[in-house]
Symmetry: D2
Subunit: 278 residues, 4 copies
């Protein structure tokens, strides 16, 4: 199993000479245009009221897409694994209440059909970036796919993973950098902000950044989000929770509603400084 040589090996994902950016549309939201897309919401879906409240916070801050995990990939088998189908229903309720489309993770190829019937966008999580059966099913579903980078996935392997989705007939892929695993323990992961610049050159597809999982700590999320926008990211995926201390997972990295609003304002200013908007 030799090293991939993308370009030749990823003909659908690689930007051909002169090829313009591909726009990926999720309902009324466009990834890859001049506007930086802000996605917000909790790590895990916990209840309908929680999701509806979070959705209102996201919308009020200028966010246009909602996130929330119905199935959670947990390192440990005894941790909370998500509400499953019930979580999907809560996400749909929040969509009805606010008009925001939503993205949610799918872990198991057998769940793709069920999730695709309800969700506006499928998330393939970090641990699944080389889950090839899952990538094929996500491709076959035709739904837009948010493809997170693995903690130790090279840019070339990541491009090859996306090629699985496109080879199944689905060109609606958005890459999401979320930090890589390195020797440095100061933050949860090391945000590889350079990968945004590299991907924008290597592929025609949009690239966004998840500063919450990279930082793992509320104090650093906004600085990483600003850096991502300055480096050319087409969007941000940010965890926010109306009551972070009560969150069932990722409490330490979830912004309060006020912090989320400040992040949106601060990143909007950076976006405008480089000729974009948020």
């Amino acid at each position: 199993m030799g090293q991939p040589q993308p370009g030749k090996q990823t003909p659908l994902v690689t930007r051909q000479p002169g090829q313009p950016d591909t726009l990926v549309e999720v309902g009324p939201v466009t990834f890859g245009g001049s506007r930086v897309v802000l996605i917000g919401g909790p790590c895990a879906v916990e209840s309908q009221s929680q999701m509806c409240a979070a959705a209102e916070v996201v919308a009020a801050a200028g966010g246009t897409l909602l996130r929330g995990g119905a199935w959670k990939p947990r390192t440990n088998p005894y941790d909370f694994q998500g509400l499953g189908r019930e979580g999907l229903a809560h996400l749909a309720a929040a969509r009805r209440a606010t008009g925001l489309p939503f993205v949610t993770e799918v872990l198991d190829p057998r769940d793709v059909e069920v999730v695709a019937q309800v969700a506006d966008m499928l998330q393939i999580g970090s641990r699944s970036v080389q889950n090839f059966p899952l990538l094929r099913e996500a491709g076959a579903s035709g739904k837009p796919v948010l493809l997170k980078r693995g903690m130790m996935t090279t840019v070339d392997e990541w491009l090859s993973a996306a090629e699985y989705v496109l080879a199944a007939g689905n060109e609606n892929v958005v890459f999401c950098e979320r930090g890589i695993r390195t020797f440095e323990p100061a933050l949860r992961n090391t945000l590889d902000v350079g990968s945004v610049a590299v991907l924008k050159e290597k592929t025609h597809l949009p690239v966004i950044v998840d500063p919450s999982h990279a930082a793992g700590d509320v104090r650093y999320v906004t600085a990483l989000a600003r850096a991502a926008v300055a480096a050319g990211a087409d969007g941000l995926l940010v965890e926010t929770h109306c009551d972070p201390e009560a969150a069932l997972s990722d409490a330490a990295q979830s912004l309060t509603p006020d912090q989320f609003k400040e992040l949106a304002a601060s990143c909007g200013a950076v976006a405008r400084a480089i000729g974009r908007d948020l």
Copy 2:
């Protein structure tokens, strides 16, 4: 999603005070006893004659278990993906011819049942170590599981992955160290031989080593295999092919039959030096 704290978080996998080694049996083969188990065979199953020839090489050198991939996890969607069910049949034919049981990788939770009906042991590959639906299905199958370490997996995350299998009622798990991803490009991966010693203390389950994927280069496979045995590994998983240059994958790291025999002899001497056998 906090860091796992194995011991408390992996009650079934963690060695309790005074708990002896667990023996995992695969047909007539025992992992975890005084004899170091030698597993051999090609990376990918290509044909019945190839598998039968390889099986004879393995048996002649003292190997007691056969390996071969029917489904191959490939970084690139356009590379050879394995023969699937036909590959299983070739493995079964080689087993009939030599009496050697076989281990083969399963990638998709939907394939576990089919593979478990034929194979003697299920391999969960590096890219699947945190594929939780797959781990649960492998656990439910009741078949012995060979759990490879991911390129990016810490020892603690690896223990937690095994806990998914045991929590599903299946205690027959064998860990397989196969090199981790580091900054060093000299070899394909960096064999973390220390993880063998750490696992032998942290868990009661057997631990083996795959020197072929760690090295990625025939010249270094035997040195790594000897180091693994010296560090306390309960077995070796080694790629061998009767005609490496014609192999459909992993040609550079597949030993010829003669090299495989030399490896077996050399590792046998090291095993005896530390009071074991091979």
Copy 3:
């Protein structure tokens, strides 16, 4: 030799509760204030005319400090090792011509005195960040010190390295993030933009970023520079050469004069978006 526990172990470097940012002054230039400092110049000093031309480019673009290596730390003993004292004279000539102070690397504790007599600021390079005799001499010199991060130095080790300088009576230390070594080969190093945010909280001293060594490729330098400013960096250290293709080292990452001007303009816009200037 246990792990450092900065805070207690680095009493001079750690920001005490309520302690304001320390300003480090190098001639008329102030690090740590509202203005982001732009440092420019070639990797290696090659001639007096080269340095004078580079200095004019830097000044014209709004840069306020000049860089250039007189002693070069080279991985290979047969590569160009720098002009030594002659290089210092060229840097001084460029300073006279433009009024820009300069920073240059010192590699050997025996050279600190000579360099400190001429240079405005001493650079401790990545490979020297744990060269303790050199850190002590740099501290004793009383000159401002630009302390680059090592390719595999944790933030805590870096803080401890700075403590050596401060413990020698010299509080004028500026940290410089320049990318760390990871598994990802797409760029020369992985810019750890999060370390800027972490350091701004852990220490009262200024923090700048070198996007040139992180990227190793002209195409990505400006994106990384903008990300650094957005994350809160107090300055940028950028390689520029009037004729990059003729450069004796680091040709691939040296900006042309026009590219340098564009970087300055682009980073200035980002700086103003977050309430600073450049």
Copy 4:
């Protein structure tokens, strides 16, 4: 500063076609022959009685070379930095008492002359592997040099560092693998046992292993030492202290005299299994 291409770039260090192993002699001890060299002693020299007692333990177990640090490279400026010249005198006393030659670290190019007058072999430590002025001085001293790998050094960079010593006219270099920095926190460093096999092919110079710093934990030192011998290492550098709990540094990884004897016996058996001795 491009990537080194050893072979062409390291003509003195690279093994030429057919070139036999170079033997490096330190008094009566030979590195690179059939006998695996066992070096023992404490991390830091603390007193004359401590060194003499340690030397007797080393000699009794079959060790033939003594180690002990007179100058200690410490991450933190306030930690014990070694006894300096007084430490050298204690090492010399232990040599007189037992006949064992000794190796000790030199950190500062200004100390090379003093150390070379007394020591039998100079150690260049991990943090100094790319301290080029120090490498040149060690080369000029003519003394045998033990060159440790840096925590972040690739094999190719390590070969280039040795080339500095040989280029200064000194061919007596012994490489020492001591673990590299990776994402895995289970042990202090990750022993890269594959680097032993790679170096034995790439260079004609001897290669030894320091399992103590790699493990950082007494429980794993012997397993790593055995793995190193099995992989082809020409020697072992092991920390032992007559009273580990009272050691001024590295207490957790120092073997007791009994543990050191067991390590020697166990590694001797492995050495004989591969046709060597210890």
